[in-house]
């Protein structure tokens, strides 16, 4: 019994990344999510919930980038002279 305890203490001592650090990473993640950022019960949001919402959020972001790149390709296909104006407008501060 005592051997097991000492072993567990050793492992937590030598581990580089502790449970607290993981909690902190998950809290950082929670701060990024728009839904959970302004949640009132910020202490009681479980890690699984944060991760699930993160998956959904990333899928939404992927979809949005796909939509935007479709629109951009259509725009670029239809307008030729817009390119010069675009580069000028974006590269001059």
């Amino acid at each position: 019994m005592s051997g097991r305890r000492s072993r567990s203490r050793q492992s937590s001592g030598t581990s580089r990344i502790s449970e607290d650090q993981i909690n902190e990473l998950i809290i950082n993640l929670q701060q990024l999510l728009p839904e959970l950022r302004d949640s009132r019960r910020s202490d009681k949001v479980s890690a699984a919930r944060v991760l699930q919402d993160t998956c959904n959020y990333i899928r939404n972001l992927h979809r949005e980038v796909d939509d935007l790149s479709e629109r951009l390709s259509e725009l670029l296909a239809n307008t030729d002279t817009a390119q010069a104006a675009l580069i000028r407008s974006l590269l001059t501060p």
Partner: protein
């Protein structure tokens, strides 16, 4: 809601200070988040992506001299790949996902070009890119996670690892760090794409006095 110059300069100084201190593993948390939200990063990214879009159009025009417009179906995918590649380049190779995106692009290029070249060149490039990944993996698998070894958390993190490029076999803390950076980078990418689209559409439409940043009240994007 763009961050103004004080935030930009503080993020830049932070990265400089960290480099001088020579930390063994720079944690990509708050400093990288600030960096992706800065105006400067968005400008760098815009420059990169516009350059790659120009190359796209030139190659498309050269392939089809008769057709004046690029094919709309394939064009969207090409634009999206260019967007992700530019994003990975802007990340300057400090994160797993950016290196994975770039190595995927290199692999496709090599496969496309290679007919006679032996395949020995591929493993060497992969080793140089994933060398640091192997070190990370060994270090993190030694530890034992107690409560975070919950099957629910583990399965969700595996899902997350599949969504983010290059993180399929990574341990939990690595996936979490990569996710944080990836999300903020994607948000910047969406902001930049919106700005480009509004700039292109406003320049092609009849001239109306629009402000320089081109931030329309778009309803389609969820940010801001």
């Amino acid at each position: 809601m763009e961050s103004i110059s004080p935030a930009r300069s503080s993020g830049y100084d932070q990265s400089r200070r960290k480099r001088k201190k020579k930390q063994p593993s720079p944690p990509p948390s708050s400093s990288s988040v600030q960096k992706w939200r800065s105006e400067k990063q968005q400008q760098i990214y815009s420059t990169n992506i516009i350059q790659s879009l120009r190359e796209l159009r030139i190659s498309a025009a050269a392939a089809d001299p008769s057709a004046k417009l690029a094919p709309p179906r394939g064009g969207g995918r090409a634009v999206r790949d260019a967007a992700y590649r530019s994003l990975a380049v802007t990340a300057r190779g400090r994160t797993l996902w950016s290196r994975a995106i770039l190595s995927k692009a290199v692999k496709v290029k090599l496969k496309f070009r290679k007919q006679n070249r032996p395949r020995n060149s591929n493993p060497t490039t992969m080793v140089s890119i994933t060398g640091s990944n192997r070190l990370r993996k060994r270090r993190a698998t030694v530890l034992r996670l107690k409560a975070k070894g919950l099957p629910a958390v583990q399965s969700k993190v595996k899902l997350l690892g599949r969504l983010i490029p290059g993180c399929r076999k990574q341990p939990l803390p690595v996936v979490l760090e990569e996710t944080t950076d990836y999300i903020v980078a994607m948000e910047m990418q969406i902001r930049a794409l919106n700005a480009i689209i509004s700039a292109v559409s406003s320049s092609s439409a009849p001239r109306t006095p629009t402000p320089g940043t081109g931030h329309d009240g778009e309803e389609t994007h969820m940010l801001g």
